[in-house]
Amino acid sequence: MANLWQKLTQHDGNGWWNLPHGPSNELNPPFEGPIGGAWFGNLWRTLTHGNVSHAGVGFYWLVGFVLAIITLVEVWLFTVEGLGAWFIPLLLFLSLAKFVGVVAYFMHLRFDNRMFTYFFASAMIIGILIFSILLVLMKHASQPVLF
């Protein structure tokens, strides 16, 4: 577990920051599981009978099931009283989980070439940064002197 981070962020020890050079030396991890690591990949293969680089039917059903559960939890949270300040962060976290689930597994980004991740992530990063700044600026727009 100590190197879980490494497994999550790296493709088979091949750093995320190495751009693919060409088809011959492109390394997509054929035995890597949904969150990295060969042992996990083999486990998934056993469980889902899927080709690992294209996860199998069972895997997709499982992801879909998890996403549905998260949606249910969100709606349930909505009815829970007394969450107070935790309500919005919790919802944002659950939505983020759904977002990542769809992007990583349904859109196949977890198993696909890193170039696609760069495209999508660069827009997400720039977007989140500038729109967060925009929200802060506009939140204080009515009392600028205090800010």
């Binding site: 050079h21 060409g22 011959s24 700044i133 506009m138 727009a141 800010f147």
Partner: protein, 642 residues
Amino acid sequence: MTTKSLTMPQLFPRPKSSTGIWSWIGTVDHKRIGTLYGIVSFIWFIVGGIEALLIRTQLASAENDLIDPETFNQLFTMHGTTMVFLVIMPLSAAFFNWLIPLQIGARDVAFPRLNALSFWIFLFGSLIINASWITGNAPNGGWFGYAPNSGTTFNPGMGMTYWVVGLNVLGVASIAAGLNFIVTILNMRAPGMGMFKIPIFTWMTLITSVLIVLAMPVLAVAGIQLMSDRVYGTHFFNSLGGGDPVMWQHIFWLFGHPEVYILILPAMGIVSEVLPTFARKPLFGYPFVVFAGAAIAFMGWFVWSHHMFTVGLGPAANTAFSISTMLIAVPTGVKIFNWLGTLWGGNIRLNTPMLFSISFIAMFTIGGLSGVMHASPPTDAQQQDTYFVVAHFHYVLVGGALLGIFSGIYFWWPKFTGYFLNEKLGIANWALMMIGFNLQFAPMHWLGMDGMPRRIYTYADNMGWESSNLAASIGGFILALGILVFMINVFYSKMNKVMAGNDPWDGRTLEWATTSPPPVHDFDEIPQVKYRDDFWFQKYPETIAEYHHDDHDQAVPSGAQFDDGDDVQEALPVVSGSSDGHGDGHSAIHLPDMSYYPFILSLGVAGLGAGFLTNNTVIAVGAVVLVWGLIGWAMEPVNDPE
């Protein structure tokens, strides 16, 4: 693809002829599309220039009443909009189209039909914006269309609606072109051409394209919001309904500042090609120029509020944006020093392209420095909305982007046409432009410091602004004379052709390896690339040792396994995405066939846009044409079976 069994009666036979008007309407050739971009945007350049001359004539003397205030508002709005969206962006696009496939050793862009679509949508978008002149009600809210002045309350005419609709149509064209060039540059490079061996103009195109793809949607949203405010009465920028006009400023400048770099980065790329060629040295610090460009593109997102220092965002916000604005001057300065380093010790030839490029460095530095002055909020508070700002951005956009583009025109004209532009007329063109430009815009600095506001149609005669304004107006006409000399030069050079040959300037990059003008398929054989500036080292293999110390194999590239240390890539047998360009002669080269569907599809987009200006019937017609174009496009095979 899906066409194999889904065949559909062809509503139009494909254009087959390579001459005549239909061959231009159906063309998917990147060189022809580049030419179309160039011609159309140059026509708009003349239109925008005439608008500028009218403005300068009106301001030449105090209390002049040649032009009434309303027309004056329309003139400066349309001048700004035209020059930004219809001139500098598409002129850059003309260079992208012409040069990118040539520079990376490809036979066309990745999506030739999409490329044609971009041009046609651009054409119709520009026509929509300028159609407002015919209705007598041109946009009058400034090129930034600040709310609430652009809303129906203060601006009940149709002018600003034309403006938002036109900009949205243009945005579609820009995004399509941006996507196309990103994919082209990443995917269509010649074998062996790693990302750090592509020419610097190609790098700047890639960065510009990324900016276009990410920034134009922001303008699209601003346009949709303003349009729905104007057409459907929503409240985005209407404070009576809970909206906030400041949001328009934020959204517009969120787009607007990356847009500034969209305008200037291609010119920087052009200059970075011209300087090494005429100094006969490689570009000094290529990776630095690349990373400086990327850094500018990233940091350009975080400086937008420096356009809004006087809005009252508060000291914390102003300080933050002041710092980020000053920081973005650093990568820009890096580039300037790299250009100077390129010139240093070079064997310099002062041909017309070089004169324009050197002038670019000087003028752009002046414009950049006055920009750094604005980065300080207290200073900016004095300069906001004065002629000082006008002087600043004209030094950046005319002295920067436009001089760079003219440099590129003189530089690549032999490649585009096969013959030179006349050198003497070229130098006259350059001299007139430089004199006129500085005479016009330098006095605006002190006019602005003296407090003359922008966007006023006249001024009192006791302000002491008359002589400077007169000088600026004279400068404007001298600048126009320079442009006139350029047009004369184009015709003169066409009449008295001085043939250039394939490589007239002793160039460094791949476009000089093919004939001038290039054949339809660009390259008879797809080149194999081993080095940055590969064509130079093919011509002068003895200089390889000087620049590639670690490379002991000094033979001309053989096209086999390369061992250049920094960016190893195996040679691919084929490059062109849509062809099987094995080198067995011309017969094996498959180019995408011509198609009318880009034109039809763009007619549909234009119809949708025009519908928002007229009525729902036109929207419906536009939608039908759009769907027809889409289906026809999807069903039509890229190449007819033979």
